[in-house]
């Protein structure tokens, strides 16, 4: 399910400000992992190693901001950039950034801006909105509940094991259910199989 979450990296020296940002980000159900850095030493390491969607960076970062920005834009073109500034009245423009938030902004404004940005990154797709399983996915759930392995499911449904695995991933993402026992309960509750036919819970 982590695939439809948005991950953030906060580059900010102050613990107090970082915790404030963390709290705001935590208000969004779409927020996935949030990484924190006190300075830019490991910035590129984290950016290349982890899947980061949004970088929040303090305008007072000691190193040259334009330089960092340039490097980021060259290497990570999908990354959204938020600049965090000391005061909202500051008319400074920060070209190249997707968003500016300031320390003295009211919560509602910040939330609204972030909400828009998050929606840009993860537009609520039609597919995501409907958690309905396709007929094929229902077939797979049924087989899982009968206690079949991926290979056996492939043989019964005439699809490759690889396709079975893809179906399973989508099923888990749609339902929020991961374990075989959990999927079995789902299958029984939705009349995909009879309770006596379930392999698990034994």
């Amino acid at each position: 399910m982590t695939t439809n979450k948005v991950s953030f990296l906060i580059l900010e020296k102050s613990y107090v400000i970082r915790s404030g940002l963390l709290k705001i980000l935590g208000d969004f159900p779409e927020t996935g992992k949030v990484y924190e850095l006190e300075d830019s030493r490991f910035l590129f390491k984290v950016l290349s190693r982890e899947q980061v969607d949004v970088l929040i960076v303090n305008a007072k970062l000691t190193v040259d901001l334009t330089d960092v920005l340039h490097k980021i834009r060259n290497k990570f073109d999908n990354l959204k950039l938020i600049i965090f500034v000391g005061t909202r009245r500051s008319e400074d423009n920060f070209p190249g950034f997707d968003l500016k938030i300031s320390v003295d902004e009211p919560k509602t404004d910040i939330i609204e801006k972030l909400q828009k940005l998050i929606q840009k990154i993860k537009p609520p797709e039609k597919e995501n909105l409907s958690e309905e399983l396709s007929e094929r996915e229902k077939d797979v759930v049924r087989q899982i509940a009968l206690g079949k392995t991926n290979k056996e499911i492939g043989e019964v449904l005439f699809i490759s094991t690889h396709t079975v695995i893809t179906h399973r991933k989508n099923i888990t993402r749609k339902l929020g259910i991961k374990t075989v026992s959990g999927l079995t309960v789902y299958a029984i509750l939705n009349n995909l199989i009879k309770i006596d036919d379930a392999a698990q819970p034994a």
Binding site: I177, T179, L189, I195, P201
Partner: protein
């Protein structure tokens, strides 16, 4: 808030009720008046430094995680973990199981709903129990033995030396993830897919208890994965060099 030896234990609990099961696990009973943590620990014969590390770590995620615990004797942490095993197996899981068995539905699916939830939970209980038995019979004793031999490494126990040649702490399969997934599934099933039971109050209790258990187990697992296992692995590595 950082909890210190002079903090009144009543203030700790009033500030964070999630610590209630933790202090119970140390055997501390209510009615502590204005006693400080130091006084309480003395009267119950609890290692106050260890107690403080546990409550601080569970109270505040940002508290320097487990650094000091790693330097303390492992049997302190192991003893605490054993107590929380007892709490899961003998108190919390039976309690939740009983709540689940009280859920009632109307209509034709009533029996089916009841039986499927019960089965799911008893399967989960079985898995938790197997996990705990494996830890108590295999992993914890090996960890404590490793520590004991490490502290006495100039004079290794020959029996342990043999074990060291074939065993490794990293071999122990980790089922924490799987157990956690089962709880997440159960929450989703009740919140999203199950016909709402007639007795709403009990349903809410079941859910609340599952959320609590999840948090409690996450803290427990952290002590295993971030304290006792890595510390013992370090010691094991040193000892293997001596072979």
């Amino acid at each position: 808030m950082v909890i210190t030896k002079d903090t009144k234990i009543a203030d700790v609990i009033l500030k964070n009720h999630n610590l209630i099961p933790i202090i119970s696990r140390f055997g501390i009973k209510f009615g502590f008046g204005d006693k400080s943590i130091k006084q309480i620990c003395d009267s119950y014969d609890i290692n106050a430094d260890f107690f403080l590390e546990i409550v601080n770590a569970f109270n505040d995620k940002d508290y320097l995680p487990y650094r000091k615990l790693r330097e303390m004797p492992l049997n302190l942490t192991v003893n605490y973990l054993l107590k929380s095993h007892y709490y899961y197996n003998k108190i919390k899981l039976p309690f939740i199981e009983n709540l689940i068995s009280q859920l009632e539905w109307k209509g034709e699916d009533a029996e089916k709903n009841k039986s499927v939830l019960k089965k799911f939970f008893s399967q989960y209980r079985k898995e938790v129990n197997e996990h705990i038995i494996n830890e108590e019979k295999e992993i914890y004793p090996y960890i404590l033995e490793t520590e004991k031999n490490f502290l006495n490494r100039n004079n290794l126990n020959p029996e342990f030396t043999e074990k060291l040649k074939t065993k490794s702490i990293t071999d122990y399969a980790d089922t924490h993830e799987e157990l956690n997934s089962a709880l997440l599934d159960l929450k989703n099933i009740i919140i999203k897919y199950l016909n709402p039971p007639e007795n709403r109050e009990i349903t809410e209790q079941v859910l609340t208890e599952i959320f609590r258990l999840e948090k409690d187990m996450a803290d427990h697992t952290e002590l295993e994965d971030k304290v006792i296992v890595p510390v013992a692995a370090e010691m094991e590595k040193e000892l293997k060099k001596q072979l």
